[in-house]
């Protein structure tokens, strides 16, 4: 067996625990205690935790099996759309992609020391880097989306105001 296959097998076998590590690392970025986000399984009561846990699985599968990039983009979008409006800086918002590296390293700690496999891991990690680049694009798109919404709102207001053509007035000045 070549090293690439060995790594792949490892990553497949350990999928569940790697995903769990990844998920928990992402959850650490939330303030206070993120137990609710981690544990609440109801998809309507806890859309943040639910979405992230679902989509990282798709992303992981995608990296392993190589699925169509539009599917990856949808998954990334579902996560980033949430993080783009939460209290995060841009780097914090997309940092979750890199957390996968740490999750894998922590999980494959022993195997990594066996030399050859780490070379393959580097290759796999560059795939994660590509995913991260995609994440930047998507983050920007989400932010643009927010500004678009604000601009449209302003435009609609201006149009509405013109329609009503109210005269400017200083009537709020208190007459002394």
């Amino acid at each position: 067996m070549d090293w690439a296959t060995i790594l792949r097998n490892f990553l497949c076998q350990k999928k569940a625990s790697i995903l769990e590590r990844w998920f928990n690392l992402i959850m650490e970025s939330y303030p206070g205690d993120s137990l609710f986000l981690k544990q609440e399984k109801d998809r309507f009561a806890n859309p943040v935790g639910y979405t992230i846990s679902q989509e990282i699985e798709t992303l992981y599968e995608g990296l392993l099996q190589g699925v169509a990039s539009d599917k990856l983009i949808t998954s990334l979008d579902n996560i980033i759309r949430i993080r783009a409006v939460q209290d995060f800086s841009p780097s914090q918002a997309v940092s979750f992609v890199f957390r996968l590296k740490q999750a894998i390293r922590d999980e494959l700690d022993k195997e990594i020391h066996e030399g050859q496999i780490s070379k393959e891991l580097l290759k796999f990690e560059s795939k994660i880097d590509e995913l991260a680049l995609l994440a930047f694009d998507i983050y920007m798109k989400c932010r643009e989306n927010i500004y678009e919404i604000r601009v449209n709102k302003l435009k609609a207001e201006v149009v509405g105001a013109l329609k009503l053509s109210g005269k400017k007035s200083n009537a709020y000045q208190v007459k002394k």
Binding site: Y30, P31, G32, R43, F44, I149, A156, Q173
Partner: protein, 540 residues
Amino acid sequence: MSAEALGPKEVLKTIDYKPVKRSWLELTVEFRKGTYLYTPPRKLLDYLGLPNPRKWLPSEKDWQLPENWRQIILEGMKDRLSKYRSFQLFLDICVRCGACADKCPFFIGSGDPKNMPVLRTELLRSVYRKYFTTSGKLFGKLAGARELTEDVVKEWFYYFYQCTECRRCSVFCVYGIDTCEITMMARELLNSLGCGVNWIVDPAAKCYRLGNHLGLPPHGFKGVIDTAIEDIREITGIKVEVSLNRKGAEVLFVVPSADYFASPHWFTFLGYLMLFHEIGLDYTFSTYASEGGNFGFFHSAELAKRLNAKMYAEAKRLKVKWILGGECGHMWRVLHQYMDTYNGPADFLEEPVSPITGTKFENAKSTKMVHICEFTADLIYHNKLKLEPSRNDRWKVTFHDSCNMTRAVGLFEEPRYIIKNVCNYFYEMPENTIKERTFCCGSGSGIGADEHLEVRLRGGFPRANAVKYVRERYGVNLLACICAIDKATLPPLLQYWVPGVEVAGVHELVGNALVMKGEKPRVTDLRFQPLKGEEGEGDV
């Protein structure tokens, strides 16, 4: 591996990946753009005679609080503790069981623990303990008490404007502790320091002077009505009659001002006018009381009462028999639970009776104010309307229960009954996201300003998430609702989270389905969009 030393772990540390976890008693807030509301200009506070006007912004370090600010707050608390049992009781009896913790849409959307209702209240309760309870005075921090500092005030401002007073938490609390009550008190205290919000004070000032939040003068209102009449004529070929400030009409009709200004409210407005024309209702609008909503309610009980006074005053002046109210959430919270107390008794009005069906609205016999959905549902039940639901066939509809319509009024079935009669495709969202457990739009209670969009998108995420589910499962493309704030803030929310779902008022759907006597064959709906089956049949 040697690379580990310089690995991503180290780099990421510098960008503060993991927030510091500290006790909630200690954190101070940071006002990032997009997460705070702008403050009202001095002239508005002056106009309304509100205290401590000044120029300031939450992001500034110095809030220029009045010198005796601490005294103002503590005396304000003392005063309210003796005036509101709710305030005192809710500060005393919480056992911190945590049942409410994960029920707040802002907590669900942000993960910020101070958005848990219990902690939101604790922000104020800790100060209550320090200054009003023996254990707090004795044991201080150990008993969960803390000093009232400027940072505490800032934190109040931050978190009490991340509560939409939606009251979802109070549904799940065994003692019925209602964070809305606490938020209202906290906002009154903040406002007594002049720490208000422009998006609340500005509409309130306009409403005070001009009769509506938009600041539309009487002749402007007339112009709007003319536009609506023209729109309806274009769609149906019928010229409806609308009167303003007419004395002696049977019914005074009051709507939230967004209905005749904003989109998609406008189409609901057309729906009302068409319906009233069809049944021949003897009604009038008032330009002086041209606002159903009440942004004073998000400021203080006093300002709410001042704005609300116009409705009865105008009903009395115009000598109408009773009042009919349009689709709006917080408007109905005030009308249903507060108006009679504020400005009643309305003994100059008569108990409302539908002139078309003869139904007595016994549930409104004291307030004398009927909800348009109660009115319309009654018409449909008595077969007074000819309806063609297929005209709404391009919509697959779901219904968003507005917080105030459910948790204050209990209006669950009336709008559903109407929708089922005017639409062919109706799908409910999951049980734990509707009715008494409905999720807030994330923008209620005067925090729906543009500058606050990020917070709103967070708080509205649980709602949008449930919409997304019915969109994926049933192909839902229209979210119907009966609240003006919903209609204003759900479209951007859905644009961000669930593109492809539009928002409409229930009476827009009624207007579409209503078959009017003598109307021309309809080719478009109220949005001037071709009806299903009419697409591509030449230009209209």
